[in-house]
Amino acid sequence: MTSLTLNAIIEGRQRRGRRHFRLVGLMLVLVLAIFALTLSVGQSITPPGDVLRVLLGENVPGATFTVGQLRLPRAVLAVLAGLSFGLGGVAFQIMLRNPLASPDIIGISSGASAAAVFAIILLGMKGPMVSVFAVVAGLGVALLVYGLSSRNGVAGTRLILVGIGVSAMLESVIAYILSQAPAWSLQEAMRWLTGSVNGAQIGQALPLVLALVVFGGLLLSRSRDLEALRLGDDTAAALGVRVNATRIMIIIGAVGIIASATAITGPIAFVAFLSGPIAARIVGNNRSLLIPSALIGALLVLAGDYAGQFLLPGRYPVGVVTGALGAPYLIYLIVRVNRTGGSL
């Protein structure tokens, strides 16, 4: 009798596990497929064979520049930024148990963006220094929001509200700095207001890869504690999680990854906010959402950038596309969350 129910339980667990991995695998395949598409189909079509030869380092007349210099850096950066936003966003959402508590709403993204604009326009910084500056500023903002919202312990709702206030202030700082820029271009301003992968260079990928390994690794190593936190702080503590220590690790990891990406692409609108809930809709809430959400983030940025370049009349930076696409989903999400009062 007991062994019968035991087998049913094992079988059910394995079935759900297999379904989870199938769906994650499907996402991975989709990311690779769109990646390949963006490499070979743009203003002109490059045959897949030529793309492959360029990737292997051969010099193919006509393709080496388009694929190697224009499309590849752009696609690589889109994937890396998407992974970062998806991973960092969902970590925040799970930690605070509120899909609306994503870094783009509580001020982390605008903090990193303001720091990047400040460093580039007013301090004349370039390259990796900007990333470091943005990460430090992002952590500073996170610390500020966390500190301002802690009174007899941090309450999630207060943290979100404080974040909204801080975010509003930082956005006006960005607006001010941009208005001070000597050579003001709308395209460049767009990057810091809504995010863009225009003019990507392959060298920019390195700090992002580094950030993904260090901060992403930190987040993934905490994934079990994060899962326990979803049951409520008290339940997590009862299960042996050091709630405050875990929170700090998650904040460092998520802020680090988000700020590094923001320093290069700007705060790509809604990607951090949308990836988690979309991933939850697809794979369910039975397993950790970190990796599915990162993949969804990569998909959103890749597809959004592609659509902004080639599928829409005129050329839009990816942030405008994800922003406009995200709006209806966002409203649906708010309505649904309000109705059920539930988590992701």
Binding site: L6, R224, D234, A238
Partner: protein, 275 residues
């Protein structure tokens, strides 16, 4: 099964500056069901939260087997001492089996894989709470009573020998309240689990407790066998209420009947002070 002792000594605790528990001493009898009752805001939940490490005491300590729980590594503690908080949160769409599996958290670490032992613990927990047939259902679809059994199953999967519960019967109707309390009594009898819970209903508390603890103003008022503790004098002191105590013919336990100002069968209603 080893017998664990849980005691609090000289405990003062609260939120921020405000002190809710005030130099409190308490010993939980091992292997028994202890129920804590008291008026609103007397510190029942604070006591439970401090005894389960959710709250750090200002002064004094909580000892599990003679060792301060606030100095024990949390994961180690969570293998002996479990807590079901008042309002745990179920992620949307999670299935019963997966939620109950979360109770295995303290038994795992970063690199360990899910083992047969974990599956067995889940199986035992589901069987004990009679929720095996719900295993593949999403938790959202369940009724309040079923959901409470799932949460208890999660706490069971944790395989702790001491289990603390903060008002496990709130929001349940009376039949489900009795069902949950019967279930906890089964566990206590079959496994010898030490159960400590806060309850609102004085009569259910007297009915199910081996050891009844009453609290006022952050201190223990009296504790002991329900028959000895639940008296008209205790109710007057703890709740500020006049009452009569009779004996339940079914269980032989005391029952508290409140005396209000109206509906006196014996004569006139008691009038409020006339001007």
């Amino acid at each position: 099964m080893t017998v664990h002792t849980l005691t609090a000594s000289g405990l003062s605790a609260g939120y921020g500056e405000t002190e809710i528990l005030n130099d409190l001493d308490l010993a939980i009898p091992p292997g028994k069901i202890t129920v804590i009752v008291g008026a609103n805001a007397c510190g029942k939940s604070t006591l439970l939260r401090t005894m389960s490490r959710l709250l750090t005491p200002h002064r004094g300590q909580v000892l599990l087997d003679g060792k301060s729980i606030h100095k024990t590594p949390p994961r180690e503690l969570a293998r002996t001492l479990g807590l079901l908080p008042q309002s745990p949160i179920a992620p949307e769409g999670i299935t019963v089996a997966d939620l109950v599996s979360r109770g295995r958290h303290p038994h795992q670490n970063l690199f360990s894989r899910w083992t047969r032992k974990d599956d067995e613990a889940v199986d035992v927990a589901l069987t004990a709470t009679k929720t095996v047939e719900l295993a593949d259902r999403p938790v959202d679809e369940l009724s309040g009573g079923q959901r409470q059994r799932i949460w208890i199953a999660m706490a069971l999967a944790q395989e702790t020998e001491v289990l603390l519960l903060d008002e496990p019967t709130t929001f349940l109707d009376i039949s489900h309240q009795v069902e949950v309390l019967d279930l906890l009594t089964d566990l206590n009898h079959s496994r010898g689990t030490t159960v400590v819970m806060v309850l609102h209903d004085l009569n259910l508390a007297a009915r199910y407790a081996d050891h009844l603890v009453t609290m006022t103003e952050g201190r223990i008022h009296v504790s002991g066998r329900p028959e000895d503790v639940l008296t008209e004098a205790t109710v007057r002191h703890v709740f500020g209420l006049e009452s009569r105590i009779i004996i339940d013919p079914t269980s032989g336990r005391p029952i508290m009947l409140p005396i209000g100002r109206h509906r006196m069968a014996t004569g006139q209603d008691v009038k409020e002070d006339q001007p």
